[in-house]
Symmetry: C2
Subunit: 458 residues, 2 copies
């Protein structure tokens, strides 16, 4: 049995690890387009803040660790074509020559590519112009080289999602002037603006020039640097800077599977079922290139590293003949932004409505632990539930780093997974000690506030 | 409608608050034996560490706050007899005179009393002798006065449960020599000894002289201080000290209800159903005086403040004619001991066996967040599951303060509440960002380790 995984990131490596774990006799090969298998792409911003060094520590496992599990790595090897009927993968080898790899089962984890979001100039300009994306170790080295060689004093970050916010922190840590341009009305658009506003304030408090409502149209190079133009609240704007980082989302990298005959679905991602079957015989796919089965929204596209790991694990098991199913995403996410942490799980109102619910939301603030014990800080928690059934639909949390936001959102995630009602959540037996909580934890203060806001149900 | 609650601690106050919240027209009176309603007894150790000051801040709510909700407080008023048929409560007023209060519904929250665990001398000696318990604000003031007046240099703490461990930290913070005597083989006997041993090491690291396997038999006063004698691993021992703190557990305070005709059950606690009915007409009870409905163990006795709050809330709602039910305890607990935090939820193997399960347990260690981000520390997690069904039965966690142990145990608690399998837990969509977690959170590393330890199930 020869299993071939394409992709050295979360999905491909998880699949390969799972296959080797379940069947130590399986022959497993991973085809990796660069030299950096199993690197933590989520950790790259912390390389630029200076928290992580050297860059090699970003590897979840080294190549030697991976090979010690019994898998083979084909580094700097680019998959060019899948010959489905012949169960053969054509690749371009490091020396530029073409060769092929026969497989019994193929798992495609080619992930996503940075989007240019229709901004003119982004596709033409590159690191040598001071225009960067941040999606691979190659991008990382290119940005580092540019920072070291040119010592840019200012940067414009286009986008204020997770990576954009983390990189604002990194550039500020390096002493740069940072402008963050966000198309929508508030930063971190995965949260309701009420909570995103808390993150906005934190950015401003640390010196980031945040410009929301700004639609970038062009990036151009000029003798003095880079010029970004666009529309800000209906008026044209133009800003000049030393460096541009565009982090405006990703698009699924489907080229290989599309040419092999796979079907595209939500957001142009490859359609897979919950077993990670592509529909092509002996071809599985997982990660940022495929659609996401969401427990509340159904089939959508929500690329997240955690999901890629889980889908990859399912694909690896099923390629061996297993019957694993991806349990489904809840869209659980967390990000640290300077001294705050923001998290969410489940759905917000507009998503809930689209999924057929009748959502209602309330926002409450409660201390992370008893106020009499030093260091208590408020956590803002927004709870969304179905007004008809009282079912928990989602939660969003913002609070200080150190207030256990990341795991508090996880208690909501476990409740969502189990389709709990908000009332049942309020009665959960959660832990308490004065330095770390309250007899009714902050999360239950929030769900009780939701319940009080609702008309009494029979 | 006149609702009378007896008891100024968690159960009585929660009941009164809930009744006032649901029916602002209800006449609610709380009879409180001392002057300190709604004080956080769990916070007392932090008064002695110096973290909390002044003592008044230990109040969850002040008397004025409570009265502002519309309830009446009868402080320094001791309930002496319930006349069930006449719906009348006899009390001793602050001036020593007897009077009575008519009620429509009565909620008894008289809690528990410190146990002397059969140790001779404990019942006879008191604060004036340098022998203390720590169960009320009165005990707190007595201990404080003794510490201030005598400036004792040494203390023996009998017991190494939650309060005992917290008070070891407090006495060490005050510069005292501390000996901690524990009857069982390891401190914190609510955890398996493997994890309790980590707490033991932490106590020793901070200078506590920990003596496990020591059964205390007598405490006597002598001209030079206090002498504690007993058996240590089969040999007699004797230790002399300036101060003794006995924290060897509690016994339900059932006198009032027992005389009124209530039935006693597990551990001598008053039998109630999940509605908090005592079986006596118009008499409800909640908190440390009643049996505990446990979702895995059935009816047991497990006095915890969190449970008292929840049971009290149920009693307050039902006294008004509601139909709330206590959702059941999972025994979720957490304690900070110096720089460590220990937590548990669900059952351990011996409890699981008693409840009819076939438990298996594994212990794993995983970093609280990605190792490349500064400050990562290992968390030790012991998972217990049913070997036959794969159902999650319990989890125990020990790790550094700051590693989000308290909320990680809560994710296990939510899973237990929903009777999840360990495999399903491993697939939960939990949050991840490098400073606060891993793509597979430490809790999932632990459940995956459990799964790997098991024979493959069909």
């Amino acid at each position: 049995m020869h299993i071939v995984a394409i992709g050295g990131s979360d999905a491909g490596i998880s699949a390969a690890l799972r296959a080797r774990e379940l069947d130590p006799s399986a022959d497993v090969t991973v085809v990796v387009a660069d030299r950096y298998p199993n690197f933590s792409i989520c950790g790259i911003p912390y390389y630029f803040t200076g928290d992580v060094h050297p860059w090699q520590t970003l590897a979840h496992r080294t190549s030697a660790d991976l090979e010690a599990t019994g898998m083979s790595l084909r580094l700097d090897t680019f998959a060019t074509r899948i010959e489905v009927a012949g169960r053969r993968l054509e690749v371009r080898d490091p020396d530029g020559s073409e060769s092929s790899i026969d497989y019994d089962e193929l798992i495609v984890g080619t992930g996503a590519l940075p989007s240019s979001a229709g901004i003119a100039g982004l596709d033409e300009l590159g690191p040598e112009d001071g225009v960067h994306v941040l999606h691979s170790m190659g991008d990382t080295f290119a940005l580092e080289r540019d920072l070291d060689e040119r010592q840019p004093k200012s940067a414009i970050i286009i986008g204020a999602g997770y990576v954009g916010l983390e990189m604002a922190e990194a550039f500020i840590a390096r002493g740069m002037d940072v402008t963050q341009l966000q198309r929508g009305p508030e930063v971190l658009s995965t949260l309701d603006p009420e909570l995103g506003g808390l993150i906005h304030d934190e950015l401003v408090r640390h010196g980031v020039d945040v410009v929301t409502g700004s639609r970038v149209e062009t990036v151009t190079r000029n003798p003095n640097g880079l010029t970004v133009t666009g529309i800000h609240h209906g008026e044209p704007f133009e800003r000049t800077t030393d460096l541009v980082l565009a982090v405006v989302g990703v698009k699924p990298n489907t080229d290989l599977l599309e040419r092999a005959g796979a079907t595209l679905g939500a957001a142009g991602a490859v359609v897979v079922d919950e077993s990670m079957r592509t529909g092509l015989p002996n071809v599985w796919s997982a990660g940022d290139g495929v659609v996401t089965h969401h427990r509340l929204l159904g089939v959508t596209y929500l690329p997240l590293g955690t999901t890629s790991h889980k889908q990859g694990r399912v694909a690896g098991e099923n390629a061996l003949g297993g019957s694993a199913r991806f349990a489904g995403s809840l869209g659980t996410q967390v990000v640290k932004v300077f001294d705050l942490v923001a998290a969410r799980t489940g759905v917000r109102e507009h998503e809930a409505i689209a999924a057929g619910f009748t959502p209602a939301s309330t926002t409450a603030a409660a201390d992370d632990h008893k106020a009499y014990y030093p260091g208590a800080k408020p956590i803002t928690i927004r709870v969304t539930g179905d007004a008809g059934t009282g079912r928990l639909l989602g939660a969003q949390l913002v609070g200080a780093y150190g207030t256990e936001i990341a795991k508090r959102v996880d208690t909501f995630a476990v409740a969502l997974h189990n389709e709990m009602t908000i009332d049942a959540f309020s009665e959960l037996d959660l832990s308490y000690t004065p330095p770390l909580g309250s007899p009714w934890d902050a999360v239950q203060v929030a769900t009780q506030a939701w319940a009080r806001s609702q008309p009494v149900r029979a």
